[in-house]
Symmetry: C2
Subunit: 288 residues, 2 copies
């Protein structure tokens, strides 16, 4: 099936979409991006993603070419044309095309997004569980910006995948910050702990929803750096991202996490999250 892309206002087959060699996204990683989930053909938390896109763009001084509401309408049009039911929108905004120079002037930005099918996520409580391996956090200090300068994440992720894991957990000064493609949470009794958003942590949209849900399940949220000792003692650990939703962790480096199965609180969070998806999109949520 042809995949479609919206590129600077035109809709065309993804395979035909080309970028200039001198697009600053290609030469300088001078851009930001978003991944938005859709269920049953309906966007989920699009305003939150587009608000973050705006903050990211402001963070690197790229003027967004479209108002968020207009952009959402355009994304919906593309999604309709794609005929896809369950998947993600990948969106990228770069500063634009100009003869290579670190110093930028004013130029029209490059904006594009395309829709792609995704396999359903596992049922709450099910699935194989994520294997985590910790790595030193060598990234820059503005990870709150969802920038395309992802090379450090790529290197960390592939380093742990080569060791049989799924996700790299960044450690800075002995504290857990986030993962290479997700946020991370630990449950210690009734306390749900995750690192605050900031220089080393992206304001994840799924992360934010979990923090909203947690008190309704009687959990006490603590936003602070997790020590490695705490992580070893955690009752449950899970990661969150737009595409994976809430994924329970089965292993931490060489150690199984407690029972080696999805913990009961993680499962409740997954159910509550899926309730939100159903309420917002009307999806029946076919799952794996």
């Amino acid at each position: 099936m042809t995949e479609w892309i919206w590129l600077n206002g035109d809709i065309l087959p993804l395979g035909d979409a080309k970028i200039s060699v001198e697009d600053r996204g290609f030469q300088f990683a001078d851009g930001v991006y978003e991944v938005i989930r859709f269920y049953d053909g309906k966007l989920f938390t699009a305003p939150e993603h587009l608000a973050r896109l705006k903050r990211s763009a402001e963070g690197i001084k790229i003027p967004p070419p479209l108002e968020s509401t207009h952009l959402e309408t355009e994304i919906e049009k593309l999604l309709g044309a794609s005929g896809l039911q369950d998947g993600m929108i990948y969106l990228q905004l770069t500063r634009g095309v100009a003869p290579r120079d670190h110093v930028y002037g004013s130029m029209p930005p490059t904006l594009l997004f395309y829709a792609r099918e995704l396999p359903p996520v596992p049922e709450p409580g099910a699935g194989p569980g994520v294997k985590l391996i910790s790595v030193e956090d060598q990234r820059w200090q503005r990870c709150w910006i969802k920038s395309i300068a992802l090379l450090p994440n790529i290197l960390a992720k592939n380093e742990v995948v080569a060791q049989g894991a799924d996700e790299a957990v960044f450690i800075e000064n002995g504290l857990v910050t986030e993962c290479s493609t997700s946020n991370i949470f630990a449950l210690l009794g009734p306390r749900l702990i995750t690192h605050p958003v900031g220089p080393k942590v992206l304001p994840g949209i799924t992360r934010e929803l979990v923090l909203e849900i947690a008190p309704t399940l009687g959990l006490i949220v603590e936003e602070r750096g997790l020590g490695l000792d705490e992580l070893r003692q955690a009752d449950e650990i899970f990661i969150t991202s737009t595409t994976r939703e809430i994924a329970w962790a089965a292993r931490w480096n060489d150690h199984p996490i407690r029972t080696g199965r999805c913990g009961p609180i993680t499962e409740k969070l997954q159910q509550a999250y899926r309730d939100k998806v159903r309420a917002a999109t009307g999806s029946a949520l076919t799952t794996a």
Copy 2:
């Protein structure tokens, strides 16, 4: 005049050269680059640049598609076709094109290079002098890799340019590391001081040549982090890069550096550097 590009083995006009939206260089900054100077139609220090390219590529596990000597021949062909006498080769190597996924498999890399004219640099001792402003070093920890994940450099550079400066000097823990697009040196009496290559400092080719030349002028080289106090007391400060060669610094934040003119030792280094260029390329070196 048409600019020409070598793109995955084909030579075509730069304006016609397009990259896939799913090139990992565009979506992940998953690539490395080089800038090689040519004078009078001859490449300068090409083997050193191509050896660094190889190290950078190995640093992010991209298999180089061509042997360095073969690559140099291809660059020379393009340079000949371009008809340019004085300028730079911009070269970029990315992991290649694949459906977006942090985890990479095996794929053919994207390799490209193009030639572009550059204005001549000022005569030794001449020119307006570079204005420097210091900024906090917020970059990642593998700056020895010449990666295209340049967003932190872009932000720093443009921040100081907006304040009327030319170049941002990165400071980490009170020590000078390098600049946003160059290495930096200070002269204190007979001592020439620059930060060692490593997590925060690129192995600059011009930097390396300066370290070779320095002892022949009676200078004592010290490779260590420069304190801010030392920088304030420096007799001369200069920056080095492939395109700017050795550029003397006139201002450091709000302070003029000593006399506000190019210092005598910097001028000698510039002359010795240009002697090397003449010897290697046969260029008469037309200067500004």
